[in-house]
Symmetry: C2
Subunit: 357 residues, 2 copies
Amino acid sequence: MRAYNFSAGPAILPEEVLKEAAAELVDYQGTGMSIMEMSHRGKEYSAIHDECIANIKELLNIPEGYSVLFMTGGASTQFPLIPMNLLGEGQTADYTDSGAWASKAIKEAKMLGNINVAADCGKEIPTRVPAVDELNLTDGAAYLHITSNETISGAQWKVFPEHECLIADMSSDILSRPLDVSKFGLIYAGSQKNLGPAGITLVIIKDELAERCPDTVPTIMRYKTHIANNSLYNTVPTFPVYMLCLVTRWLKALGGLEGMQKLNTEKAGKLYDCIDGTDFYTGTAVPEFRSNMNVTWRLANEDLEPVFIEEASKRNLKTLKGHRSVGGIRASIYNAFPEEGVDALISFMAAFEAKHS
Amino acid sequence: MRAYNFSAGPAILPEEVLKEAAAELVDYQGTGMSIMEMSHRGKEYSAIHDECIANIKELLNIPEGYSVLFMTGGASTQFPLIPMNLLGEGQTADYTDSGAWASKAIKEAKMLGNINVAADCGKEIPTRVPAVDELNLTDGAAYLHITSNETISGAQWKVFPEHECLIADMSSDILSRPLDVSKFGLIYAGSQKNLGPAGITLVIIKDELAERCPDTVPTIMRYKTHIANNSLYNTVPTFPVYMLCLVTRWLKALGGLEGMQKLNTEKAGKLYDCIDGTDFYTGTAVPEFRSNMNVTWRLANEDLEPVFIEEASKRNLKTLKGHRSVGGIRASIYNAFPEEGVDALISFMAAFEAKHS
């Protein structure tokens, strides 16, 4: 039986995608080789690489002048790469602090340049991200960095600030909703939540920004190197790109990002309604900033939380434990998480409440 | 039919390993999840992570005081990380130039510190690596860097130089032969040749070296961060580690690195004998430095090389084309390449010679 896997990442993948990958894992389309065994410059892998980029451009309606890159090292590696590439000497960059991930990005950037924290609600409970009108921006800042969705706290930007160079860590909500990419200078996302297995970092960058990078930055750490080489400067992790390609096909077949947003709003909406319908559960995030990807809540009696997690697990509702730094309950319901799993969780929550109140 | 895949990397994997991965790709051991969908901190993946490290320590007989790390970005990312972590201000590091990969490492290091090229045979034809007694070493150098096997030219170090801090890029021959790890300060290898699919970089480091790293280096770029966090500072590419774990089990079952060395010497020996037995073919590397992993040669009539490659491909002998920068023929016969594939190549070479001479 397939588990309802609420893991925050690495996370659930579409079952169809897994089955397709399994079926051709040993022999990719009659070649006598696994896709994993093929040169990253050979014709079979090249077709996948290029299709994956084309699908992402289509899904996000990415305008001319932007590149789609496959990099490595997760979002945590982008934290230093962004200032190394884009923050000139003497310049300041603005960052918003909205929680654990934003504050990690800030910490790394501070080691490399002048950073202004334009808004800080990183430690507020109930959790939230900053409102667009409370940002204290620097004139002439090199860029403004936000974290579009805080995976740990479950808060999400619903409206984005306007900025000449807006940069967003979208690790936990990329491809979950339509996006006007032209409003961004750079978007990045680790692959292991909404994209595929862990192992690549998707970067969408306005090409002209990459020219800012000083020559003192090591070749492989420059965005312009990856742009110039179509992400093939060195061996790209081919299997995660292949998996992402299958996921993009699946997304297109489901109606693209409009279709996905509708489904995600429905799934999250049901779960928040369930939480709001009783004092037994309390949502962790301020309602207007609630994430559609990571739904977080507490039990009025926190001592019951481990019991909740354990009983849920016995009913095939897996990995509901909140992040080790904050506790509580977290249901990560990314694109690939099926609606019937949300329904099963809601039924369980009602039964659990009836039993324990 | 399974192809005889001579790709230099990503490269052939053991068929048994691929079949095992395919069989449990959708449902890992009855959990209802793929291994790719599981948290990198959950119990199933943790068991694989720890077993993989233990197996590598066992296979290489790694002494106390060393850590086995899974990093990302390939060998090309290690090129800058090594001087960033280990080359103090005002210090010099020695590098040997033995070809394309060594010279890339040198180029990146020169951007970051004082580099002495202790020997340069990088452009010699027939190709080779430096002899141990021709190194022009710097007194008090921070380290000496070598490239244990040049994948493109097909030359390999058979005896290693002695140095207080010897660093080796072993991307194309790691785990192909027994090794005295205690003679090295740091060993690194991209995964896509002898280890598994592309996506992780294996690093074996003497822990005390990691302390050299200055605090100005971004957190994720410090070896000491990965040592302190058992390679789980951020999300590790879990699937490549899983595949590497299966490969290490396969290696252990085949008799470990002694067994592998015997097999590799036999495979390469046959092929070199075939090349040496006729003037129709000429080996590219100086015999005493010939690689057991990447066997390179030319045809006396170079115009016939494309014909050779094409006819071989029709006989299921795939990806024999030399690297685009040097041409010629290259047969990469890593650990997982079966002996019968070498035999098939040798038969084809004889038939091709008979037909075309």
